[in-house]
């Protein structure tokens, strides 16, 4: 599967390079929740390349599609509500349109939320780039009781409008036809952009004239003047640098006198939208109570909403472990073990170190990652489905009050939710949070969420140590993790960020049926990202740990790893650990589930069933409980650390996170150990 994907992206990259010179560039713009990703996936299939925008941690998706004998490049711009510099996404989207000057911009619009969706159209239509409005979700609009005339909207806007039901592939051909025609200048194009309200027209003209000769190319003059009036920080900075100081003083004084202009400009756009809607919507929404409203009475209820969320989370866990764990065990036993046997048989004549490297290092390390595939697929598919039907905004909403404890708001709950699956995509998921401070704090606490790999260790060890009380112990450990997360969040927010807070305002999209194609592509991309990152890092570290545990004598007892374990054993002693438990803990750094494998090697148990018995016989319960607690809270795995570095762009914060979790986990371990001994371990 991996090679297939690699060849796919290579073809796409090669193809893009080959046709870059003369093939048309189409940009896909739209607000969040309008079905833009669905349309992008339909047009490009898996023929797409996912990367980051230069220097930014925002996903950049590009692809190619063929129509009418020509190949087009398609750039998926970040979802944005407007084109004012409120967020990185908005800056990226407008910089792309203004600087790269795509041949056509397709603006995807939600027909069921036309008024809000047209706001981005009102902004884009003022730019010189040609645009097409893709009127998506026509079916939902009909269900909600709207009736929209695409032709009337087209006449009112002066730009092509194509009705669409992207989830059912309806209207896609017509859209491609329209793109083709607009790119070749085959249909009339006479946009009717909104005008600023009368009370601000004079001042806008005044600014436009004053900045005329100073506006850097390729920025349109009138647009820059409008953004100055709106108080756009990026454009203000740009023009302050471009204008001579005395000229800027004059403009700055004008802007100061009109600092209420943002509302006049936005209000003007909504008046324009009102006219478009009166022209195009022949039957306004009836007053009926929609599905969304009925569902939200439960899903967004302050009490039932949280109960529902807990139920959903429990169900995902149950699905993951009830289906995923047996599959994982089967993969371990039937695929990886067989592979290891075949390799050791095949390498029988080779030097012992080579056989050990391939069997223990390569297959053991990479195999453990591969065996995680079923768990990852189940988790990401259920999360993707929740995201696609529109539930995630409700989860964020009901968790808002709770997240306030840490100076965060509801949106920060979404990456934490993802963290129960794997911390790597969770840290990346913090990208949905607008403010840098809140994003940073979310990233710092995310690794305290017990991921499936850590839960797998608990699921294996808890029954060995605690028999019938294993479930209770496991729940207790999860609660301990979450309580620690809140504690760390509260303290970090108070001490490091001095309790600053960011605004919480978020659209609650209409619920709709899940689109399996969108979910499938999402799962595919998340898993490939996981494999690329974790695969390379885990491979490198497994080989490193293998070398440490083998060198210099070939015996584990006298290896450098054992020396290291004995060196730091005094720390482990505080929690009742001997050097073997200390090493098992350290070995969780490359990958959390390594702990079990390391214990297996160090306690000399051949089979996992055997290991459980050996451990139960040699380790007292107080030590076992402390070990599990430290295991859950310890320094994040290597892949997560690398992702934190990438997402924060800072070694300082990455090291802060590692040091913080080291201190927190050891403290928790010592407290748990001594409490357990007091109570009777």
């Amino acid at each position: 599967m991996m090679s297939h994907c690699a060849s796919d992206t290579q073809t796409a990259a090669a193809l893009s390079a080959a046709i870059a010179e003369h093939s048309p560039m189409v940009a896909l713009a739209g607000q969040p929740n309008v079905g833009k990703s669905t349309l992008f996936n339909i047009l490009t299939g898996l023929n797409q390349h996912v990367g980051n925008w230069p220097g930014k941690t925002i996903e950049r998706k590009e692809g190619v599609y063929a129509f009418g004998g020509a190949t087009c490049r398609l750039a998926d711009l970040p979802g944005t509500y407007s084109l004012t510099a409120n967020s990185m996404e908005e800056v990226i989207a407008r910089e792309f349109i203004i600087r790269e000057q795509p041949d056509v911009v397709v603006v995807v619009v939600d027909a069921a939320a036309l008024e809000r969706s047209l706001y981005l159209v009102a902004e884009l239509i003022a730019l010189p780039t040609r645009m097409i409005v893709a009127l998506n979700m026509m079916d939902v609009a009909e269900q909600e009781g709207y009736h929209i005339e695409p032709d009337a909207l087209q006449a009112a806007l002066g730009v092509p409008v194509v009705p669409l039901v992207a989830t059912k592939n309806v209207g896609v051909r017509e859209l491609l036809q329209a793109i083709h025609q607009v790119a070749r200048d085959e249909i009339p194009y006479a946009p009717k952009p909104p005008q600023i309200r009368d009370d601000h027209r004079a001042v806008l003209n005044q600014i436009t004239t004053r900045i005329a000769e100073w506006t850097p190319a390729p920025y349109p003059r009138a647009w820059v003047a409008l953004k100055l009036l709106e108080g756009d920080q990026e454009i203000t900075r740009m023009m302050q640098a471009a204008l001579p100081a005395d000229q800027w003083e004059v403009i700055y004084a004008i802007l100061r006198a009109h600092d209420d202009a943002l509302m006049a400009v936005a209000g003007g756009r909504y008046e324009w939208i009102g006219r478009m809607i009166r022209a195009a919507v022949t039957r306004p929404r009836a007053g009926q109570i929609g599905l969304t409203e009925r569902l939200d009475r439960w899903a967004a209820h302050p009490l039932w909403g949280i109960a529902l969320l807990a139920g959903i989370l429990g169900l995902i866990f149950w699905l993951t472990f009830a289906i995923g764990t047996p599959l994982q065990n089967w993969l371990n036993a039937s695929v990886i073990a067989v592979l290891a046997q075949a390799a050791s048989a095949g390498l029988a004549g080779a030097p012992a170190w080579l056989s050990s490297l391939v069997v223990n290092g390569l297959i053991g390390g990479v195999g453990s990652v591969l065996a995680f595939l079923p768990i990852m697929v189940i988790f990401f598919a259920t999360m993707g489905a929740l995201e696609d039907i529109g539930y995630m905004a409700r989860a964020a909403y009901v968790m808002d009050s709770f997240m306030h404890l840490m100076g965060l708001h509801g949106k920060s709950f979404l990456p934490l939710f993802l963290g129960f699956g794997c911390n790597v995509p969770a840290v990346m998921g913090a990208r949905v949070i607008e403010s840098r401070r809140a994003r940073l704090l979310t990233i710092l606490v995310t690794p305290l969420i017990p991921c499936t790999a850590r839960m797998a260790v608990v699921a294996f060890l808890a029954p060995a140590f605690f028999g019938g009380a294993a479930t209770l112990v496991s729940w207790g450990l999860v609660v301990l993790s979450l309580a620690t997360l809140v504690g760390v969040g509260v303290v970090t927010n108070r001490v490091v960020f001095q309790g600053q807070r960011s605004a919480f305002i978020m659209e609650m999209p209409l619920y709709h049926r899940p689109n399996w194609r969108t979910i499938g592509v999402l799962v595919w991309q998340r898993i490939m990202a996981f494999f690329k990152k974790a695969g390379t890092i885990i491979l490198a570290f497994t080989l490193g740990v293998w070398a440490l545990s083998t060198l210099p004598t070939g015996q584990l007892d006298s290896s450098w790893l054992a020396d290291l374990g004995r060196l730091i054993e005094p720390v482990g002693r505080l929690m009742g650990f001997d050097w073997r438990l200390t090493v098992a803990l350290l070995s969780s750094f490359p990958a959390k589930e390594n702990s079990i494998a390391t214990l297996g090697v160090l306690f000399g148990a051949g089979k996992e069933g055997g290991l459980a018995n050996v451990l139960a016989a040699t380790i007292p319960p107080s030590t076992a409980l402390a070990f599990l607690a430290v295991q859950l809270l310890f320094i994040p795995c290597m892949a997560t650390v690398a992702t934190i570095r990438q997402e924060t762009g800072s070694w300082r914060w990455t090291l802060f996170n590692m040091a913080m979790q080291l201190v927190v986990s050891l403290t928790a371990g010592v407290v748990v150990y001594h409490l357990a001994r007091l109570i009777g371990g």
Partner: protein, 90 residues
């Protein structure tokens, strides 16, 4: 404030109050917004502009609110809702 009263010449002389004080089911007409640049821009793009009618869908305790405006539903923190001044519709 002059601009806003020009937008709403026929509004009754009732006092403006924060959106957060409206109960579920009540409606208000937006009079003024306060807040940081970023938050204002975000709210303006979501349709919070003077004269718009906002219906409160949910408003419980000290938690966030759900409001409906311009055909969409928006979740907003209590702090943000306090910064939206509305005139209660009768």
């Amino acid at each position: 404030m002059q601009t806003e009263s020009a937008v709403l010449p026929d509004t009754l002389a009732s006092e403006a109050c924060p959106l957060s004080t409206l109960s579920a089911g009540e409606r208000g007409t937006l009079v003024a917004l306060t807040g940081g640049r970023g938050a204002l821009g975000k709210m303006a793009s979501l349709g919070f502009t003077p004269g718009v009618e906002i219906a409160v869908v949910q408003n419980v305790g000290r938690g966030p609110l759900i409001v409906a405006l311009r055909g969409i539903r928006v979740a907003m923190g209590r702090l943000e809702a306090r910064q939206v001044q509305v005139r209660r519709c009768v």
